[in-house]
Symmetry: C2
Subunit: 300 residues, 2 copies
């Protein structure tokens, strides 16, 4: 049992845990128990409860965590590692402690730096996927897109993250669909490829965002996009706007769930970008396994 | 009493009415009784109730209306006038009817066309302010910014609207402050000029919007903007992003409430734009009075 351990991605809204044996997943958990749902910062008690089926069998399993659990609002405030950041820097910056029930635990730091637009930028959790991507597909340089609530575009060199920029694509999409005039009084939505493609094409025209999105209203008024396809059109606008920032001359990876990466692959066909999809969970587990092996090396 | 009439701006969320005598305001009403608050499309009953103090004294006052009251969701679906559109076109396109209590009524159409970014665009209500602006400040050409939930930038030539573009500045600001991660867990906000200016300057750097706004998170994390100044910073980002689309070589008018135009004037100082503020209500009343005089001319 000595090679069993638990890998955890603990974010603001979700909690995911994997039980591993020799780095193979033998069980997993996914609960809507993100940091916001933890009462009065009782992180240890919450974790013990979530992991109880596994801990009952093996009480002191080592636990390696990443994500917002290491932020100001999380269990431990783990200072960001600075760019450029590789596996060694993340290991060096990790927070080591013992849980009340006796498990050795590590929280891996996030990364901060300056985006390619000169803005301060931060990530927590995606750095693990980036390490995993490099381990799975070794190369001198990587350009990786990690779509999501806050999409990240990262460049890596010799396995180190050298810069990254955040795009609030997923959060803006959700706000515009659910809370804005653009999403008001819509019928049941039906996914529609042509409307998605139309959105991607429209966004490629270098139109300012706050004007661009109003077309989801006017195209509907004019009958160019059906009311039940507005979410597809908006998704195309948002993803197209994000991809317009990527140099089409450089092949890139897109890391995430198959449902999400499929949209980016479809948009890339329209914009002429060469994208290759990689499963986000596989990258996360591979990246955390890499850190786990560093921990074992350095602490044995 | 024959020169008494009622001017109404009836929008989605607000209702405003002015009682005029010889085009001077002698009374006014402002109620949160926009179209969304009218039950079962009982617009006539709602209007009669809202105007009852004035109608009691003079039952058949003529009523001239503009705004979303002329939309699909409004009292009458009045087709848009097309660009280029001047006072004559708006008069020609207006919907004339008699209210159940015997007032002659007109609803002035909105305007549709193609924005300077090639997108379909629409306005309802702002066209009245534009006519009023030209009447108050005659010139061959006007560039006018009408800030708001959906800001409009319009160009006029010889008193006709020749093109316009919508920017969803106000709605995005509200969504980001109230519903997004950027506005979460903020203390009581305090207006702060330096944070506003910093936002305007940051937005002038041609940074993609979905990345730009994330700086409201990272600048707070880094301590560059205090938590109680985040709304000021976001306001600067949003207005700066909108103004970055305006050619600094062309003087422009900004039409709106003093509170709102003051922000645009402050931002224009930062970006080097020459802006002159004009009161939005004055423009609205002047524009609607112009249409009222056309109505009187053509129907007498």
């Amino acid at each position: 049992m000595k090679n069993n351990w638990i890998a955890i991605d603990w974010g603001t809204t979700n909690f995911r845990a994997f039980l591993l044996e020799n780095n193979q997943v033998i069980d997993s958990l996914s609960e809507p128990c993100g940091l916001l749902s933890v009462q009065e910062a009782q992180f240890a008690a919450a974790l013990q409860c979530l992991l109880s089926p596994w801990l009952a069998a093996t009480p002191h399993l080592p636990i390696v965590m990443a994500g917002m659990v290491g932020s100001q609002q999380g269990w431990k405030n783990v200072p960001y590692a600075s760019l450029p950041a590789g596996a060694g820097d993340l290991f060096d910056g990790s927070c080591t402690f013992q849980t009340p029930w006796g498990s050795p635990a590590w929280i891996i730091p996030g990364v901060n730096g300056t985006s390619r637009y000169g803005q301060p930028d931060v990530m927590r959790g995606e750095e693990i996927q980036l390490l995993g991507l490099v381990a799975m597909h070794p190369a001198e340089n990587h350009l990786a897109l990690l779509p999501g609530t806050h999409s990240k575009h990262a460049r890596m060199h010799h396995g180190e993250i050298i810069d990254f920029s955040t795009f609030m694509t997923g959060e803006l999409f959700s706000l515009l669909c659910k809370q804005s005039l653009l999403g008001r009084d819509l019928p049941q939505q039906v996914p529609h490829d042509a409307s998605f493609v139309f959105g991607v094409e429209t966004a490629s025209q270098n139109t300012p965002f706050s004007h661009l999105i109003f077309s989801a209203r006017t195209r509907r008024l004019m009958g160019d996009v059906a009311a039940e396809h507005i979410h597809s059109y908006l998704s195309g606008l948002l993803i197209g706007y994000e991809l317009a920032e990527v140099d089409v001359a450089v092949p890139a990876w897109v890391v995430g769930s198959p449902a999400l990466t499929a949209r980016y692959l479809r948009a890339a066909e329209v914009t002429g970008l060469t994208l290759t999809a990689v499963d986000g969970d596989s990258c996360f587990l591979r990246g955390l396994a890499l850190l786990r092996s560093l921990i074992q090396e350095k602490t044995s």
